[in-house]
Subunit: 247 residues, 2 copies
């Protein structure tokens, strides 16, 4: 394969794994960077940052010659599950969450000091939505208390924002950003946790803004190979010679 197109890796949990579903933020990025960058998904449903550390050396190998130009790190929704409730297996204490994120960033910067690393906070949690979802699955047997709360997830989100400031990294604070919109609970979240198409669009727009601020908007990147309008029907080779010169 050619290595000329930059790669943007989306590293995260289910919200990243599902980002190519219809309306997904990953697919929207792939579409807006058509002929400019490859969008590579490395999303692992249910994973927290503690488990993500086991993947680092596999996904982001040191001393390889095709490190990503950009990596988004989008964990926290699972780290923030509440101890003593269902799903507690996924819980990671907030200090460790922050430390794990720091380790991930350090590893990526070791792979490539010039890599743009974007931290994304978990989205807010709609506890009513979580309860409805649990009842839709388990009826009367559904657990009484939601396994995640918006308040607790907010603590993780603010630790993510803090870390980004400490490391001078761009941060997309979806927890705060989404809650600025009235009705965010149903508008952006399908089951109180995962994203609706509108929620995906909000992530796409915010990540797009972070990329633009770093000089990596689609408009700022070269398109690979000549546009068809630049190709001479009789002497097509000329357009491709020119593109080789600018490679």
């Amino acid at each position: 394969m050619d290595l000329t197109r930059p790669r943007f890796v989306l590293f995260g949990d289910s919200i990243t794994e599902q980002s190519f579903r219809p309306g997904g933020w990953g697919a929207a990025l792939a579409n807006s960077y058509a002929r400019k960058a490859d969008i590579i998904v490395r999303g692992y449903g249910g994973y927290n940052t503690r488990w993500a550390l086991f993947l680092l050396n596999h996904i982001f190998q040191l001393n390889c010659n095709d490190t990503p130009a950009v990596t988004t790190i989008f964990f926290g929704a699972n780290d923030a599950v509440i101890l003593g409730r269902t799903s507690e297996k996924q819980h990671v204490p907030v200090e460790e969450y922050k430390q794990n994120l720091r380790k991930i960033v350090h590893h990526l910067k070791e792979c490539s000091p010039t890599m743009l690393v974007i931290l994304i906070t978990p989205p807010p949690v709609d506890e009513d939505g979580r309860n409805e979802y649990a009842r839709s699955l388990y009826g009367d047997k559904a657990r009484e208390l939601p396994e995640r709360t918006n308040e607790m997830t907010g603590i993780y989100a603010s630790n993510c924002v803090e870390l980004a400031q400490e490391l001078s990294l761009p941060c997309v604070d979806m927890w705060s950003r989404m809650q600025e919109t009235v009705g965010w609970q149903k508008k952006f979240l399908s089951d109180g946790l995962h994203l609706t198409p509108e929620g995906n669009d909000a992530v796409f727009k915010e990540v797009g803004r972070a990329l633009k601020n770093a000089g990596l908007s689609p408009e700022a990147l070269p398109s690979d190979f000549p546009h068809h309008s630049q190709i001479d029907g009789k002497l097509p080779g000329k357009a491709f010679e020119a593109s080789e010169h600018t490679d």
Copy 2:
């Protein structure tokens, strides 16, 4: 980057380039192969097979260690434009189209003899749809005769099918397949040429069928890294040791 996940490359014209728009067949493939394969788009709007040849050595480099496991070749919609009408610059005679496809396949097989190469014929053309589209852009100044006809595109499609038979390759004959559905003109085509979400879904399903026939359905491929349900909350490392053994 890790090279463990197989790569599926989508090589073609605008119908491939646009395949990550909402409802797009490329995004649908990426979603259905989540954690199984990377879908890499190499679509070039307006390109015919003659121009595609200039890209081959760049996109599919010989002697590289990360050749795609699968490549779809989806050209012909531009080769088939009619001489003497608008867009004639894109026209490629049908014999040359077939020969160019053959060259592309040979190059890919030289990259990797085990690569699965899937030929896709151009979709049918709705001439009324093309006329309406031209009038929507140019009003009374629109050209009189459509730059593509369904009949002519059908000749290219049948040459593509023939070549696939000669080379024993799977072929997705969208030209024939779509016309089996009553109302294909508006159901599958947005402007008489490009795909609606339903048209994209039809391509997704047919390409998915070709992949399945070759033993490469999502169910047949391993998922990368353990499912979260297999991870022991107290001893998470165990699940990852096991996954290293099966690498």
